[in-house]
């Protein structure tokens, strides 16, 4: 199964991005890693280009919050992305915030799976479980 991943916005924090790629590969996914400093359009273009079924966006400096507000609008301008599994993880606010508030907010932005300051492997276990439930794996 194909996954597009990368760090959104002007965020240059690269360490977790490499580890996500390593872990996804180890779990048998085919990974298209756009790296750090990636804009929303680039993510969706890559999903279309590769035919990926999962989009995994990460953020460390918290600027995902600003970008995510535009996701629904932007996604609607692409055709055939309705079945795309959207996942986001990392540090999802600038400063500190409460996961109980953050998770519903991001689900509202259009994400199926939201992980705020959650351990990488826990997040990926949940992704695999979710894909099974949807009959995709």
């Amino acid at each position: 199964m194909k996954v597009v991943t990368g760090v959104v916005g002007n965020d240059i924090h690269v360490v977790a991005n490499r580890l996500i790629e390593l872990s996804l590969n180890a779990r048998g996914f085919e990974v298209f890693n756009l790296g750090v400093n990636t804009y929303l359009e680039e993510f969706f273009d890559a999903v279309v280009e590769t035919g990926a079924e999962v989009l995994l966006i990460s953020s460390l400096n918290g600027e995902a919050e600003g970008w995510s507000r535009e996701i629904k609008l932007l996604k609607a301008s692409y055709k055939n992305l309705d079945n795309l599994v959207m996942m986001i993880g990392g540090n999802l606010v600038v400063g500190s915030g409460d996961a109980d508030e953050i998770v519903p907010k991001y689900k509202n932005y259009g994400f199926d799976l939201v992980f705020h300051q959650v351990d990488l492997n826990t997040g990926l276990d949940t992704l695999e479980e979710y894909l099974k439930q949807r009959g995709m794996r």
Partner: protein
């Protein structure tokens, strides 16, 4: 008009630039006090030189910081440049400098040297009469370096590889090589007038599990690129790895090989120095622990026999340090150096041999590239993954190499990618690690290995 002069005029045709009087600048450099040249201090020193990091937007604050450093018995003053100037965005730097001056709040993370200009900055530098080291991170540093030397800053840090691969996603690497070629030429030309201008490479790179073979290879290549343009004084550097033995081995090998490769290109007359960076990875938030870590780094630097140490502060985990904290580290480091006596000599021949073989193999692969000039060979080698820097965000970097720590916390290569690590060395590296684990637990180990000091 020579090509260099033509390039110089293009760089200077910029509304934010001082009106350069090159005849006056040459006179200034020719007659400048020897004390301003770190190359002179390297010749005459009797102890390791101590240099902190630091830069504030306004002249006033930078001056105050320098006063604190001098009172703490600093050997080398830093001048760290703000991030707008690093990206050649002088308009934003100018605006933010004015805001910082008017509101007494720092709107820049360093000193915007181009906007201040050389006439102003020179006053500060000659006032303190200490060598100043320029710290930046600029791919196109041509104008910055012209301004720095005219100001009396006679040590220039950076290089086309070490200032690009850790900091940028897509600035073109080939352009960086050409911009830095200009910097080397300018440094070489001014070096003829007085003591030499010292160039220093930035060895820490991403400061994230970079194996010694990669660090040393890149240090040697930037040294060669600099020496071949006529630079006569150069510092190779690296940062604390997390294993004292690995640091000592690295220090021995980099000294030996820098002399070897300088001689290979007929530049044995250049003087080569070794700089050690205190721990460059994530710091503990507990400030007392941070001080212990800093102190330990100083001990290791002494074991390594570094010529200069670059310090951190107890506030590293929380942002840009205050001048008080910064000066305190300088005083503490000087104290530790003063009481460290009778250090034992440690030599690990097996590790040195393995590392030397690795570096020679990578260097040979770079030299065997069919391109006609060294910078193109290096460029092609990075592009093809012969040189691969773990955790570089740059799109040209291969990211195929994987490293972890062994039981003694040495950084080991467990996947070499396209890097031509000789089979014997590769087997040795892997044999030090427990590779029976699945990838998920290896990823957890890597996360732990990165945050080893927290």
């Amino acid at each position: 008009m020579s090509l260099l002069q033509e390039e110089r005029e293009i760089i200077l045709s910029n509304e934010y630039v001082d009106n350069f009087d090159f005849a006056e600048v040459e006179e200034f450099v020719r007659n400048a006090s020897k004390d301003l040249f770190i190359s002179h201090h390297f010749k005459t020193k009797t102890k390791m030189l101590v240099q902190p990091r630091g830069g504030f937007p306004t002249y006033k604050k930078q001056f105050a910081l320098n006063e604190f450093f001098v009172n703490a018995n600093v050997d080398v003053l830093p001048l760290t440049i703000d991030s707008n100037t690093r990206l050649n965005d002088y308009a934003t730097a100018k605006k933010m400098l004015r805001l910082s001056e008017e509101n007494d709040v720092d709107m820049l993370n360093g000193y915007p040297l181009v906007n201040h200009g050389y006439r102003t900055t020179r006053k500060m530098i000659t006032h303190f009469n200490k060598p100043v080291s320029l710290r930046h991170g600029t791919p196109d540093a041509r104008l910055l370096i012209e301004t720095a030397i005219a100001s009396g800053i006679f040590e220039i840090e950076g290089g086309p590889i070490t200032y690009l691969l850790p900091y940028s996603k897509n600035f073109p690497l080939d352009k960086a090589f050409l911009y830095w070629k200009y910097v080397e030429k300018i440094c070489a030309n001014y070096s003829r007038l007085n003591e030499p201008i010292n160039r220093e490479s930035f060895g820490p790179l991403t400061a994230t599990l970079v194996p010694p073979a990669i660090t040393i290879t890149i240090q040697l290549l930037e040294m060669l690129l600099s020496l071949e343009e006529g630079v006569k004084s150069f510092s190779v550097s690296f940062s604390q790895t997390g294993s004292m033995n690995q640091d000592i081995v690295m220090g021995a090998v980099i000294r030996k090989l820098s002399a070897h490769y300088a001689k290979e290109i007929g530049c044995e007359d250049a003087s080569i120095h070794l700089v050690y960076h205190q721990w460059m990875g994530a710091f503990p938030t507990n400030k007392s622990f941070a001080e212990q870590l800093i102190n330990m780094s100083t001990v290791i630097a002494s074991m390594v026999g570094a010529d200069k140490i670059i310090t951190k502060t107890r506030e590293e985990a929380s942002g840009i340090p205050t001048k008080e904290a910064n000066a305190a580290t300088v005083a503490n480091t000087q104290y530790t150096l003063g009481i460290l006596n009778g250090l034992p000599k440690i030599v690990d021949e097996e590790e040195e041999e393995i590392l030397t073989l690795e570096v020679h193999a990578i260097m040979e692969a770079v030299f065997n590239d069919p391109a006609d000039t060294l910078w193109r060979k290096v460029f092609n080698s990075i592009k093809s993954g012969i040189i691969d820097v773990p955790f570089s965000p740059h799109i040209i970097n291969h990211n195929e190499m994987i490293t972890i720590r062994d039981a003694k916390k040495n950084i080991r290569i467990i996947k070499r990618g396209n890097v031509p690590i000789p089979d014997r060395c590769y087997e040795y590296e892997k044999a030090q690690c427990d590779l029976s684990k699945d990838t998920t637990s290896i990823v957890n180990d890597i996360i732990h290995d990165i945050g080893i000091m927290q």
